[in-house]
Symmetry: C3
Subunit: 280 residues, 3 copies
């Protein structure tokens, strides 16, 4: 299996699929091709959320604002998964989610021929590399399915590929941790967080762990008193709320509306949650 | 085969696919993931249109405004098809379209563990259930393809699943019938209909059967004289028309424009067609 | 393999897939379903870009502003590929890209039963024809993979289909060539081109070959001095630039913005590039 992720929209990913089909019949599954343009951080957030659901696979992820510069192209192994991506850090957060421990992550650089300016790296570099990684692992596992899911075997297959060489220091990307002020009882009194991503519905996903807001009735978001609820339906249509999304983080949302507009928050913005035990 | 339908956009459905791949290699086909948000009625309309084209399959359809409430999750068998969905009625109109007769439809409740608030039901309930239904049917049919398309065998496979129990009274959703006033000749003189859905192009799909408008030259839509035509090209760009869509219903459209804006109609709105035999 | 291309959005293409699955298990790959509505020229542009990446396949491409008129439905063979499409010219530019030479292209008309007005030609004509072409080629190749990629064998399979008859003069669609004025040194001094397509990002793709602008520092676009660059990052966010896309043509773009708005250009518009060797 090869999963495909990009910010290309359509029909560019189809060109990648055509190229892959010249190498291998491996199943192709789209993760998303409408991710925020040129934003490796958003891609890392979503891939960290989605990829751990998959059985061992090759993941081709091309969000590449550095295309045309001298940024490397890499393959990152995490457990028995392999992520083929530009070396801009997007592969590392999902790799940490896929690997049992940090030591089970390693990276290779992809040797890329001097690119002409009309090179489409998705089609000309990342897709064929993903296909060849898939082939290399499948050949090593020929006839014995379990080998394709053995981290050692995947590592050996990657080591044996001619155009891969160990990458000692791939670019990393670490999501910020919120800063938490606690009250005398040890409860969170104020949390300075950051917006990690906005989803299709305008829900504002922060880096604040859900357990810091769950169970409260109200919280101040950048000063404004906002109800905390488990479901959108707990507030009237058009009203703001704080909830905990399926990724486990606090979200700033609007029932039947867009949280990004209502809270005026964008990816990377700071957001301050202050405890408020108002009962109305 | 498992089809997937939701209002999740991307990349959430990819998480569902990953989970399914941990259970079964069954083919995955997307019906749509951009259906109107939280609107089981629109989903029912589209599924009734699309699912009957498929050979027997498992259909996972998650449009779920009641997530977080105590709504059930169900499996509905219709002939040799199975629909896995929240119990909000969306499964019933397509089930009636898939089954030869009403008596060939039956439903089961899915036992769901007490969900934590960060549960993503698409990923954690509906996708794994669809995968296990697919597995159960395929195992029963092992080596004999015809069994997977035999309604009795599908029913037996569902009956044998541990976490399914018969649902005596699943929520239903019935599309309204238009009310028709006829003239002395028995022809439709006035029709009070309702908007069932708006498609991507802004075409306003009503519940008025196409044969009630087809063959006329003009009809009044909420009072405004509007040409009836078989093709958009029969009127100038930007002009309004009434036509009959591939689903067989009268539509209020604009050539090279959006009917929903021009006619000011939204899903659920009433719309009145009055015969007008003007010849110009 | 069958690829699918349309301007239908969703969920209409799923109905086509259901129909195909009643005929054949061939793999289905989406090229795009969000192509500009009713624009065979844009579809031809994108298919010419994407289809040559694929190994021999059947391509079902339905962008069909003439639906409901007496336009033919055709199958065009190009090498060992087959394109199933309305006869409006959209198949010919990709066919020329797929065939080694013009003489390796031939066309058949599809016999279509008198269509009722609620016919959905994508579902009722093109999808089943694509499925049956796939079946016909696969049957001819039974057990011998190489035959499915042999142009002669594909031609024979199509010739043997009951509802296909040779089409002597399919509609063609030829992309305009730019007109180039050269200076005393033979360099391009002024180029009158045309906009071929706008992509998802608002990048304006012209018919001007990249080599006519590449290597310059500046060019006047409809009179306005504009930098020429290999990457978007060479100019500030919000600034205009001319670059060469992965299709090899000059594009009018905006870094982190939309070129179509900034240059006020739409598909089919004329655009004039004038050499300007300003150094700043």
């Amino acid at each position: 299996m090869i999963t495909l992720t990009s910010d290309f929209g359509s029909p560019y990913p189809a060109a990648m699929k055509g190229v892959i089909r010249r190498h291998t019949d491996a199943e192709l599954i789209d993760v998303a091709h409408d991710l925020p343009r040129g934003d490796p951080r958003a891609a890392a957030f979503w891939l960290r959320f989605v990829l751990p659901e998959f059985p061992p696979a090759v993941h081709c992820a091309v969000i590449d604002p550095g295309v045309g510069t001298d940024r490397d192209a890499i393959v990152v192994r995490a457990g028995s998964h392999a992520i083929v991506a530009p070396d801009n850090g997007l592969a590392m957060p999902p790799a940490r989610a896929l690997a049992a421990e940090e030591s089970d992550i390693e990276a290779w650089s992809i040797a890329v021929d001097d690119p002409a300016s009309e090179t489409f790296h998705g089609r000309d570099v990342f897709a064929p590399t993903a296909a060849r990684v898939r082939e290399a692992v499948d050949e090593r596992a020929a006839g014995e399915e379990s080998i394709a899911t053995d981290p050692e075997a995947v590592a050996d297959a990657l080591d044996a590929m001619d155009d891969l060489s160990p990458a000692s220091d791939p670019f990393d990307l670490v999501f910020p941790e919120p800063s938490v002020e606690r009250d005398g009882d040890g409860d969170a009194a104020a949390i300075d967080g950051e917006v990690l991503a906005i989803d299709r519905f305008g829900n504002v996903i922060t880096n604040v762990p859900g357990e810091l807001v769950r169970g409260r009735d109200w919280v101040r978001v950048d000063g404004d008193l906002t109800p905390v609820a488990e479901t959108f339906g707990a507030v009237d249509p058009g009203e703001r709320l704080v909830t905990v999304g399926s990724h486990g983080y606090a979200e700033c949302d609007v029932n039947d509306g867009r949280g990004d507009g209502a809270f005026d928050l964008r990816p990377g913005d700071s957001v301050r949650f202050v405890a408020d035990n108002v009962s109305l």
